[in-house]
């Protein structure tokens, strides 16, 4: 019985955390309108290409 209760509590905890993801999503708001966002990776630049400070 305790085992089932603990597993249920763990699932509930992670459901709460998923809810927190939604809260953070509200804090930062939706993606800006009229702007196309890229979805690709940015390669690491080599030392020679490094942007000078």
């Amino acid at each position: 019985m305790t085992d089932v209760l603990f597993v249920v509590l763990l699932v509930a905890s992670f459901a709460l955390l998923a809810g927190f993801v939604a809260v953070c999503g509200r804090i930062i708001g939706p993606d800006p309108e009229g702007v196309t966002l890229s979805t690709g990776a940015d390669p690491v630049v080599d030392d020679a290409e490094e942007v000078a400070a």
Partner: protein, 569 residues
């Protein structure tokens, strides 16, 4: 402090200075999306894993999907580990016939290893089967570190990408972290530990007769393979109850030195990775120097305070000087092979990172010496912190620092060309307040409620330090125990579990949200009014902000605990 102590510290710094650029650059290439060393060997392994898991490695995720994938993976991991502990008596590789772990301890341990805390309310050699140690705890040592690494890399991407809707793919980052970084290095160092005499077998208990004719039980098991990832992944959970003070876990001066090096090397290297991925090494070096300054101050402080000994013993004319026959200093609770210097360095390093392994009893340190590990954890494990968690914690402090600097000069703060606005600052504040809130609330409740009080072995200021240390340790996912507190009660098992979950996942989600918010912003070019964040001035500001924020939060409880105890000596 003896010359030997200074030389040990110097050797560690030299070794780290040599390793950090190499490992940092390697990690930048691994996560950077282009060719990386070892592709020929690792790529087929990764492709196999992706195929098995139905993962499309080319498909990137928004921060919300990244966070939900992380949570789903973590939920599966924690339930698996809980069940494994409960049914271990019916499974193979249980030569000592240990029973299933009691439910409250199993819950605490499952969450503890999931969150990279490795707080242990049990004695490993008498509670866990070899299968649980290997398939449960050691596996979590790898994956929990890799999850932290993934979040740090995602935050770097958020800071460095321009108008991007995605921050990477959680499954790919997790796989790369395990396959290309943690597994190969852990394998090599496990062999070094075996060569040095760390136990590695599948034996149960061996009964031996000592030279005095008495009977002694010597527990065996797969220790070395767990030991290397215990340190490398900043996990800290020992195979044996005595952790790194046990001669089978840490047999020589060399293994002691190596363990300190291993727990520091990835967190420091990640700052270098940050500089490389940002395309400006100086940005990484500024963060690295802030981490180094805090770690060095703590290490030298702990070593000096323990080497100077206990002033109460000076008063009764006990000789605490270093001589040919004694290491000197405060030897209470120390392993005599390591003495106060190595113990001080180990204590500072294990709490500056989120490791929590110990080679001495922190409860037996002098009051101020014991305050050093406590304050290290209160810093939020950023100096250099845990694998991944140290870097994302430090970057959150960096955002706070540029915000404060922006307020001073009346300009919108920027970091790496990204404007830091209200949304990011709300998330930064959530990140910075969540952990102190659970530490102070639960520690406060524990010292006023009757049942939790019964678990505190020492009265007065020292007892307060013990309770505060325990909650600080679990909430910051460190896992080291001060001792002097029976944490294996229902109250502490449950409250520690809550603290560990908050300290891990609330902070990770906040960091990922910051990453998502920053990734989609455009990068603005530097102007005359931009506050440079790659200079010693910024490093100084960053360190100052950390010290002030943590000081304002925790000074009252420190004053009532270790500081009062020191003044009472």
């Amino acid at each position: 402090m003896t010359i030997g102590g200074w030389l040990q510290l110097l050797a560690l710094i030299v070794l780290l200075a040599a390793s950090v650029p190499i490992l940092g650059s390697y990690m930048a290439k691994v996560f950077g999306g282009k060719k990386a060393p070892g592709d020929r060997f690792f790529s087929p392994i990764e492709r196999g894993i992706y195929r098995l898991g139905g993962i499309d490695p080319e498909r990137e995720q928004k921060w919300t999907i990244y966070a939900l994938a992380l949570l789903a993976f973590s939920l599966f991991s924690v339930v698996f580990l809980y069940v494994l502990q409960r049914v271990q008596e019916h499974l193979p590789l249980n030569p000592t016939h240990v029973k299933g772990v009691p439910s409250f301890t199993a819950l605490n341990t499952a969450v503890s290893f999931l969150t990279n805390t490795n707080w242990q309310n049990y004695s490993g050699e008498t509670t866990m089967s070899h299968l649980t140690q290997m398939a449960g705890l050691a596996v979590q040592n790898f994956v929990s570190a890799a999850v932290g690494l993934a979040v740090a890399i995602a935050l770097i991407r958020g800071l460095t990408r321009h108008r991007a809707g995605t921050i990477g793919n959680f499954w790919v980052d997790l796989t790369k972290g395990i396959v290309r970084i943690l597994l190969p290095f852990a394998f090599v160092f496990a062999l070094v530990f075996v060569a040095q005499g760390v136990t590695q077998n599948f034996n149960g208990n061996t009964t031996a007769t000592t030279v005095e004719g008495k009977s002694q039980v010597i527990p065996g098991g797969p220790v070395a393979s767990q030991e290397s990832i215990k340190q490398l992944g900043t996990n800290g959970g020992g195979f044996y109850n005595a952790n790194s003070a046990h001669p089978f876990e840490n047999p020589t001066g060399f293994t002691d030195f190596l363990q300190i090096y291993l727990l520091l090397v990835i967190p420091f290297s990640l700052a270098w990775t940050f500089g490389k991925m940002a395309g400006n090494k100086k940005q990484g070096i500024a963060v690295l120097m802030a981490m180094l300054a805090l770690w060095l101050a703590a290490s030298v402080g702990a070593m000096l305070l323990e080497a100077n000994g206990n002033s109460a013993l000076d008063a009764v004319k006990v000789n605490q000087q270093t001589t040919s026959s004694q290491p000197g200093g405060n030897m209470e609770g120390k392993e005599s092979r390591y003495g106060p210097l190595s113990s001080g360095l180990f204590a500072a390093s294990t709490t500056d990172t989120s490791t929590g392994a110990v080679n001495a009893s922190h409860d037996s340190f002098t009051p101020l010496g014991g305050m050093v590990p406590l304050v290290n954890m209160m810093f939020g494990e950023v100096s250099p912190g845990g694998v991944g968690s140290g870097l994302y914690g430090m970057l959150i402090f960096a955002l706070l620092s540029v915000f404060i600097a922006g307020l001073m000069v009346g300009r919108t703060p920027e970091y790496l060309g990204k404007k830091i606005q209200a949304a990011e600052m709300k998330l930064v504040v959530i990140y910075l307040l969540a952990v102190p809130l659970v530490i102070l609330a639960f520690a406060g409740a524990s010292v006023v409620m009757t049942t939790p009080q019964a678990s505190i072995f020492n009265p007065g200021a020292h007892g307060l330090s013990e309770v505060t240390y325990a909650f600080t340790s679990v909430a910051n996912n460190n896992g080291s125990a001060f001792a002097g507190l029976n944490g294996n009660t229902d109250w502490y098992n449950i409250t520690f579990t809550i603290c560990m979950l908050v300290g891990r996942f609330v902070l990770m989600i906040a960091a990922l949200a910051v990453a998502g918010s920053l990734a989609r912003k455009q990068t603005v070019p530097e102007s005359a009014g931009t506050f440079p964040t790659d200079t010693p001035l910024f490093t100084g500001l960053l360190v100052s902000v950390i010290v002030v924020v943590v000081g304002l939060t925790f000074l009252p409880v420190l004053a009532l605990g270790p500081i009062v105890e020191h003044l009472g000596l």
